[in-house]
Symmetry: C2
Subunit: 161 residues, 2 copies
Amino acid sequence: MHSFTTARAGDDRIGALALSTGCPVETIRYYEKIGLLPQPLRTTGGHRVYGDGHKRRLAFVLRGRELGFSLEEIRELVALAEDGTGACQAAEAIARRHIGSIEARIADLSRMLEVLERLARACRRGRRPHCPILETLSDATKSGECPEGRRAPNRRAPEPR
Amino acid sequence: MHSFTTARAGDDRIGALALSTGCPVETIRYYEKIGLLPQPLRTTGGHRVYGDGHKRRLAFVLRGRELGFSLEEIRELVALAEDGTGACQAAEAIARRHIGSIEARIADLSRMLEVLERLARACRRGRRPHCPILETLSDATKSGECPEGRRAPNRRAPEPR
DNA sequence: TTAGAACCTGCAGTGACTACAGATTCAAGA
DNA sequence: TCTTGAATCTGTAGTCACTGCAGGTTCTAA
């Protein structure tokens, strides 16, 4: 009937899996390539066939990404989920570390926002001889500076996008 | 005395410029390569020599980065700063757009933070049969889900780092 | 049988750097 | 003048998490 090497009810091709999870096909293949998803079965022609185990694993990864974990962190979390002993403490440690970095990023972004909104308001009030935004960028002694003065050199980019 | 093609008081080598701005040497060269900084003069041996104009331009770029602008946005802002006519309105538009994207990123991060903190607290309260973090990742119908249910597929990564 | 959708592999590009190799130049001391 | 070692040079590759494309193969429905 069909040419699956091992076909079961509920098996999906990559396109169907992409559709049901909202994860692009290319990304699924990428996750497999870097070892975050196990290799699925194949049809005789070489097309991937996913069973329930694969689907659960992909969902795990995607939920991790929604919470902002890096793929390396997710890799650790996957290992913990499959291990068991002491997993909860280790998972909590990963989460706390991640929470710290999110808080730091929010703090960074909030500082930027504050300065930018002040500058944009100054633009709007207008009738200044020069643009407050461009002046601030051209010369930090002008209105845009942070209250605490010159900040430490930024080794990591503030907004890597 | 020295071998500058055109030497002036206040001229700096790349190392001194890096030191005074806090911007790594490699990054300065990178900005030059992508055309964000103009090509500096050179010594007869080929070492870069920076004058005040270059220093001001680098400072402009770095302040833009501190405010989270992308290098492309900074490129536009540089052009506006050198142009003049209507520059303020254009600069404000760029800033407002940037403000919008920062607000969106803060909102994303705040949502993540909320879920993560709830999960980490649940871990700490402990004595559960299973780890709340790992359970949430394994099965979204558990405690970690957002109130509005399954979110739209995330085409852009939530935290690209 | 055939058309076309879906899938395959492999590679290149993104942004904003960062790191390295291997060569050259510079400045200061002997 | 010579030497030493720091600073600089160019060019390339790696980072993260994908995304897009070229060129080929397989699958499925009519």
